[in-house]
Amino acid sequence: MFDYLFSLNPGIIGYLVFLITSVAVYGLFSLGLNLQWGYTGLINFGHVAFMTVGAYATTLLSLAGVPLLAAVSIGAVLAALLGLLMGFSTLRLREDYLAIVTIGTSELVRLVALNEGWLTKGAFGVQSFPLPLENFRPTVGTRIGMIVIISAIFGTTLWKLAERCVRQFRRAKTWQHQVSAIASGLLGLLAIRLWVVSAIALYDFRSSPATNGLLFIVLITVAIVFWALERLVKSPWGRVLKAIREDEEVAKALGKNVFAYKLQSLMLGGFIAGIAGAFFAWQLSTVYPTNFEPLVTFQAWIIMILGGAGNNAGTLLGAGIYWAYTALTRDLERLPIAADQVGALRIMVIGLILMVLMIWRPQGILGNKDELTLGK
């Protein structure tokens, strides 16, 4: 465990790069769900469908010679159109219909991927598709430029964490504030570690161009999407979404086209998950229908609830915690029990953690406690 925190061994760095990328990909994916559920109150139990569409569209199009940027964009737009389709068929009905239709759609999409071999290569999977920056061999100057860019991202994160830490210490009336201040401080230290790791990986770009390149662009993508979403949810547009989440009849009575806003939320969330799908595929470097089981949707729900639904920073934190947990329990695989039993055990423990969290902090880690005591 201390290796993770201090070692500069290339193997450990490589694993940490994998973890950072995973956090970013799952974070991105969950940000889409958070927009739909956390802000708009749309019950989407088939979020993985958007990811599937994004992953397959990107890889298949790029195999056919479409440039990567265009392929991702088309994939994300297709995912958004899937959202449009789901929304049009259900959003006028009671909300539980959306839950059912999304589950159904995600399984349908996966089964299409499995059975329409002429298009998706079926169970054989999509292989050896182009990866972003895999043939990129940056000069020292370029690499330093890349490090400066990610430093801006990590620097901003650190700044926000420091601000939060100081604020909570100032307020420190209850022990929760102190815990929160200390946690922010520790997170800051962790962020510094990940910053160093990312910088080393980028400087040492040639060690593995595809993974280091992916790290670079996924960090930038998450930063941009996060910024864009924050801007949106704090705007009057976001206020309408929250109003719909609270009571859509009121939103209607105040002249808001609830159906259109729900569609926009569903589509934008799908668009983001579609982009996440492309990164998911690039990270795996092969894509099989089994990568898109309903479990993936529930991972996004766990991540969002852990961090606090209706909070974008919380969602990213949730993704971090989820992967930290996965990394820390990796050693369990050395125990003399079968691999699938270890898998089941891990999920059981996640379930337990969620239960404890729901008792101790039902609003999620970054959620707002005051909101829970409110009457309807």
Binding site: A228, K234, S235, R239, E249, V250, K252, A253, L254, G255
Partner: protein, 259 residues
């Protein structure tokens, strides 16, 4: 409040409204007319169909039959949000506030034609949005002050008491700059002092040019506020006239006592 010379132009007129739920005829050929600048009352025993009439007028429930003219144009086919955009705002019998939004956000939400509510604008027009928000905020503070909720502006709406919620709902309706406000029992569950206050606000805004249609069981409120009163019983019109006329109408007394 009697206007010196009642203007005849009806801002809202509904005729032949019908609605049945399953087998029950909740509203059966009801009509109502609201003159421009008036405070019109709608009364009737419990279950008479008053709230349902509101739902039909604002199209929260689609009428089986009937015609609704607002500002001279038929609106019975318009979705509720468009009716609200045209200037007819309703409140609910049981006050509905957006609990996890602040009182101020409840108010700001109600502002109409906001640039910032369009999907692309938050990224490209932040300056214009900020300007509109500031204007809306000033107006919201003004309205909140007039109903005594200004001190609560930054609290969660879900933390308000029942009576305060009623006030917030009325304030929020005014924030939409409506022509006509439908109030469903504004005085229900509100203490007598506050009822008096609410009545004063309603008259104050009425003098500013707003028209009101008010459902109310409290006869004192109806007597002191209304220019005209419509009486509904078992989903149909029973009587119509000035408050005094209606109150002495034997049919009305019978409907109230007999039910």
């Amino acid at each position: 409040m009697t206007n010196p010379s009642p203007p005849l132009m009806p801002v809202l007129s509904a005729t032949g409204l019908m609605k049945s739920f399953g087998g029950i005829l909740a509203v059966n050929d009801a009509s109502i007319e609201v003159t421009q600048g008036s405070i019109t009352g709608l009364i009737g025993p419990n279950g008479a169909g008053k709230t349902t009439v509101f739902n039909l007028l604002s199209n929260f429930i689609q009428p089986d039959r009937g015609r609704v003219l607002f500002d001279g144009e038929p609106i019975e086919r318009l979705p509720p949000y468009q009716i609200a955009q045209r200037g007819m705002t309703r409140t609910f019998q049981v006050a509905r506030v957006l609990s996890r939004l602040s009182v101020m956000d409840n108010m700001l939400l109600a502002a109409q034609q906001q640039t910032g509510e369009k999907f692309w604008s938050p990224w490209f027009l932040p300056g214009r949005i900020a300007k509109e928000e500031n204007a809306a905020r000033d107006r919201a503070v003004e309205i909140l002050e007039s109903v005594g909720l200004a001190a609560k502006a930054n609290d969660y709406a879900g933390a308000l008491s029942g009576g305060q919620r009623k006030l917030l709902e009325i304030a929020r309706a005014l924030m939409t700059r409506p022509k006509l406000v439908l109030l469903d029992e504004p005085a229900a569950g509100v203490n007598p002092t506050l009822i008096h206050q609410i009545c004063e606000y309603i008259t104050y805004w009425n003098r500013q040019g707003l028209t009101f249609l008010v459902i109310e069981h409290n006869m004192d409120v109806i007597m002191s506020l209304c220019d005209r009163v419509w009486v509904l019983a078992e989903g149909t019109n029973l009587a119509e006239g000035t408050p005094a006329q209606v109150q002495s109408d034997p049919k009305v007394l019978e409907a109230y006592l007999g039910s």
